[in-house]
């Protein structure tokens, strides 16, 4: 199972994403160059953070026209899981895969510090390992993270349960003080209508180790579990054929070891 990480000129969280997939959850991560026309059989696509094309014009506005984005958009329209983190979220909005836009923080300051976000929905490929209401500690690092959309679009997101992450305080409440950038209704992350495309401003890939906090690891465990469950074609069948306890618990260390062994087999 390969997870693709798109590299644009100016991406700077690509290596963190690679490490989160590779060392974090033991899956194969590959880089996809923005000029490529080929997703190389990847089962999921990550659009990392950074400053693609120097954020010229608007953040994400140019990256959206990269050759690879044509493939990513087609992949997403076919139901492929796509996660956009920070600049990746901005690109998904500019590409029209997610509604709304991300504008300058209301403080006009670049905000770079850990925040708390509450998992609002656990039925996406990137949140299934969490419980709804879980409060996660993740860093943010952005100047343009204020989520805006017109009122009807925001109401639709709420009623369709498409707000996936919300900025909250230490009590888990979405207060004004807990909102680092002025986002409408403390929105930190949303999904598309099909619930397979998710964008968020905080950086889960930066909190995947015990040293720095591991609250973001669930995003990547969720993804691997989800890809496996939706029919990888090889891993799923092998696990089902196994019929052992490991087959019912896809995220146990035993299955990870089994998959690693399988991957290293000739």
């Amino acid at each position: 199972m390969k997870i693709g990480i798109v590299r644009f000129p100016g991406s700077n969280c690509d290596q963190d994403c690679h490490r989160a997939v590779d060392e974090g959850v033991g899956a194969e991560a590959v880089y996809l160059w923005h000029k490529s026309h080929n997703l190389e059989g990847c089962r999921a696509i990550l659009l990392p953070g950074g400053f693609s094309y120097g954020d010229h014009l608007r953040a994400g506005a140019i990256a959206r026209f990269s050759p690879i984005m044509r493939e990513v958009i087609a992949f997403a329209r076919d139901g492929g899981p796509v996660l956009g983190i920070c600049n990746g979220f901005q690109i998904l909005c500019e590409a029209g895969l997610l509604p709304g836009a991300l504008v300058r923080n209301d403080s006009l300051r670049f905000r770079s510090y850990p925040v708390r976000v509450r998992v609002e929905q656990a039925d996406t490929p990137f949140t299934s390992e969490y419980e709804e209401g879980d409060v996660l500690r993740m860093p943010i690092a952005h100047g343009e993270g204020q989520y805006v959309a017109d009122r009807s679009a925001i109401d639709a997101l709420e009623s369709e349960r498409r707000v996936i992450f919300r900025y909250v305080d230490e009590l888990g409440q979405p207060t004004e003080e807990a909102n680092p950038n002025g986002s409408a209704r403390n929105i930190a992350g949303i999904c598309d209508e099909g619930r397979r495309v998710v964008g968020l401003m905080p950086h889960p890939e930066r909190v995947v180790s015990n040293l720095l906090g591991a609250d973001g690891l669930g995003v990547f465990h969720s993804l691997i579990g989800s890809v496996r469950a939706t029919g990888d074609g090889t891993a799923t069948q092998t696990l089902e054929a196994g019929d052992g306890p490991a087959a019912q618990a896809p995220e146990t260390p035993a299955t990870q070891a089994a998959e690693a062994a399988e991957a290293s087999a000739p």
């Binding site: 014009l57 608007r58 506005a61 026209f65 909005c93 500019e94 509604p99 709304g100 836009a101 504008v103 300058r104 923080n105 209301d106 403080s107 006009l108 204020q146 805006v148 959309a149 017109d150 002025g182």
Partner: protein
């Protein structure tokens, strides 16, 4: 014909404009009273070859919708000057 194109992009009504607000606040702090509704935006200027003004306008509108402005958060105004009107 070659046309001179000027596009002004500003935040849509109802979309927060922290830059404009901050400029307004700063002007107030400097003692310039009576300044209201400051909007900050972007200016894009270029020259465009087209058969006539209508063709230039429809072409520029498409450029704005597709790239130069994000209609979700921004509005744009286009000014087109033909060679005749540009020269004195």
């Amino acid at each position: 014909m070659r046309f001179e194109i000027e596009i002004q992009v500003t935040p849509r009504e109802g979309i927060v404009d922290p830059e404009g607000q901050t400029i307004g606040q700063a002007l107030d702090n400097l003692g310039y009273s009576g300044v209201h509704h400051v909007k900050a935006g972007r200016l894009v200027r270029f020259e465009l070859d087209a058969d006539d003004t209508d063709q230039a306008r429809s072409s520029v509108d498409r450029m704005c919708e597709e790239l130069i402005a994000n209609p979700v958060i921004e509005r744009y105004e286009v000014q087109i000057r033909s060679p005749e009107t540009a020269s004195p």
